[in-house]
Assembly symmetry: C3
Homo-oligomer: 347 residues x 3
């Protein structure tokens, strides 16, 4: 619970209306009831503003003029929503204290106020920073380190020699440090290349459910500060991701590729191995990247849905393209001839 | 073990032949031995029918005329196969009784005849319906509910405030209730938007291995009755899936998209966020959907494999298309001119 | 630690230089320090060779002439690297001995020198081969078998009736034996087809993080010897993979498809169900395969990234193709007419 005036300070907004109004939680404009704050980012939802029961609304100066009431006014109300929700959130943690069923190596270092859930395993030499919550059924391998104030959800697997900075949030079934996919071939059989290095991850990292980051072959896979990864993502060995990079679900990056800071990958983007992608590069959904990029900007590939019948015809047309080029070339020849003939005739 | 006559009643078929014949299991026509029932759905497999050792065959009235023998005759023998296999199956359950190593909160509600496997964690306020089997190493978060007669395989993670109906089947490494991928951006850094709502799922739900369903931001992610999800699927926050929707492996749906009932997604379909897709819409494999759809039917996108050399030429051809359009336009101009000239000459 | 001469014998190379030189580990040319061996496979990295501090380098006979020093010379130095790294690697195992918290059924068969980690569950009738290491929090279902000298990382789920050969390496969150996605449809509702068979896997299998292999419906899903699977892979029920097949991350194969030995799938390849793909077939990244293949070779589909604006124009151009074909056809007609007229005039 917080007064509207205090919440304004917390999120960096100007308070219009009753600064003493008490806010206890946050909700959509349509769902909000008394005691709740909501937010409005676009003129499109002004009708919802008119009918809302929210006690206050985070919005822009101009949208706040649409209706009398309590407002927290700021340039980016979506950012205000994020900050207000962080302040008001009351999300249950998956562990409290050290559960007696956890298996913690004697020489692991467990910081102050660390929680470790039931059936979790923390191996020799691991270091868990102060204030971190490790949920139940988590595995943390030898000599791996997790920074302070992190939150590791149940059933995460972190292999040996993985280093993660402060304030990480890692969701269930994430894997960090599995072997990179490296093999030599001997007479048709695959000979495994041991993956001897680890993974180094900066501060303020978030990783979604069922995503995987492979360890490096001879040097570490590295992830900068402030990187956010969604669900079902694949990061191969020796990838390097720059600060504040964001990857939406189901994207994958092959071995050794480097992507610069501030870049974004929409869902299901694929980037092949050994590329160098510059800072501030943005890939739209389903894009396949096969070449290095040194110009910031938006890149895309692929095709979008149309009715099935039209799609089948289109596939045929595309596969006839070579023939079409021949036909056009033939036409050009004939016409050049016709034109030449006509000019000769006119002479 | 069941008599053929009784099995006919169970699956809704007409029995031709020996109603007293004893059936103990089900197999392919080619593999079946005495005491087994098989099924035949298409004329394509009549040769297998001729050589089968199965004691009886589920098939259509017309196919049953191909050979003398014991038949269970019905319009849809594939449905009959499903029902007979359900009746005859003897699949081991991953837990029996409450294992002493399970960590169950004192105030969790565990129904009659519930099994809970080793090293499973069930948190405060959770409710497990009667007859449900929770395998080993499962996590069920605070206040989550699982309906009766459900089957949760080992190593499933269900976060807090998730509600699942009756008769669910959830496979290993499924995650339900992980955070949606929501962030605001402040001067280039990502500011997390806490995901405060939950997930609500109807009855008769099945979810495959390594699939993930994110919790809602302010209102729940919702899944209707009878929905089936295959492996490695991603359902983002605030998605809504209608009744009896089916999604094959590796499909993904971005945040806030709503898909109507009876729809089907083949493998690796991608649907971007905030779309509204009507009932009975069907997407073929690998399709990318970028617009709302209000006409039921089949939709497709993408391209299919050809030999690598031809594919490289095709990519070149497609990227020259703009030039080809210019060339055709140029030809049209020249020809218009030639035709006009000719007509002038003929005057 | 090994002498260079002995290491030459181990990897099958010829030693040039000091056979007594002691090697303790392996590193990149750029990172290597004294006591380390490195490798050079291409003229591209000769500059690194010139500046390396490595005590010896695995390379080809011709590259070894670039600089004086210690070399292990062989035709395929990348293979030499793999073998040297295997010999020198000192990777921590995720379990030692049988942890007291593991739940092992009384009638499971545990071979000599097997390790079983904390909170692991091994069910009735399971058989674990000698020398195998099962990490913590693993589940192994009834009657499943794992061959000797295998390594199962934490949080792997292996269902009942799964058989895996010797020397398997299975990474965290792999699932083997989950149900195939099989349903009949009854008046719009899905009726589950129980998946009654298992999974049979050969020797020398490796499986990446978060990958899943479904059990067969009536006969087993089968995987040959020497198959390697990367992360986030989906293998549906009744798929059959030939010996030494390799699949890179995020590839998926639908039900009943058979792929011959020695084939390779780059990342994110999709193969639909019920196809028959011959031996030694190779698919490039993101390819979608919709037809059986009986010619070995390389196959491809799809499109690659270009700047976003150009991509939008290209999509428009492709969707206008039908019209372009009409325009070209029209031009051909007109020109045929013009040419005919001209010839008539010339007569």
């Amino acid at each position: 619970m917080v007064s509207l005036g205090d919440l304004a300070n917390i999120i960096g907004a100007e308070c219009i209306g009753d600064t003493e109004c008490i806010i206890d939680s946050i909700a959509d404009l349509q769902e909000a009831t008394q005691g709740q704050i909501s937010f409005l980012t676009s003129t499109k939802y002004i009708p919802h503003l008119e009918h809302t029961s929210a006690s206050a609304v985070i919005t822009t100066a101009s949208l706040a003029k649409e209706k009398p009431g309590n407002f927290l006014v700021m340039k980016d109300p979506y950012l205000g929503y994020a900050k207000a929700a962080q302040y008001l959130a009351n999300i249950p943690k998956p562990a409290h204290g050290i559960h007696p069923s956890a298996s913690i190596a004697e020489d692991a270092t467990i910081g102050e106020n660390v929680a470790v859930g039931a059936h979790t395993v923390i191996e020799s030499g691991a270091v868990i920073g102060a204030g971190t919550c490790i949920g139940p059924q988590v595995f943390i391998g030898q000599n791996s380190r997790i920074g302070e104030d992190s939150l590791i959800y149940p059933q995460v697997a972190i292999y040996h020699d993985v280093s993660i900075g402060a304030r990480a949030i890692i969701h269930s079934h994430a894997v960090i440090g599995s072997d990179g996919f490296g093999y030599a071939n001997e007479s048709g059989s695959w000979v495994k290349i041991p993956q001897l290095a680890g993974v180094t991850i900066g501060d303020d990292f978030e990783m979604g459910a069922n995503s995987a980051i492979d360890r490096g072959a001879l040097t570490d896979t590295t992830i900068g500060n402030g990187v956010i990864l969604d669900n079902l993502i694949h990061i191969a060995h020796n990838v390097s991701l720059g600060d504040n990079l964001a990857m939406a679900a189901m994207s994958g990056i092959a071995g050794g590729t480097k992507i610069g800071k501030g870049s974004t990958l929409a869902g299901r983007v694929s980037i092949i191995g050994h590329l160098d992608i510059c800072d501030n590069t943005h890939f739209t959904v389903n894009t396949l990247v096969t070449k290095s990029i040194d110009e910031p900007g938006v890149y895309s590939s692929g095709d979008v849905a149309i009715p099935g019948k039209a799609w089948k015809r289109k596939l045929v047309r595309i596969n006839q393209l070579d023939t079409l080029y021949q036909r056009v070339k033939e036409l050009e020849k004939t016409i050049t001839q016709l034109t030449a003939d006509r000019e000769n005739n006119n002479d």
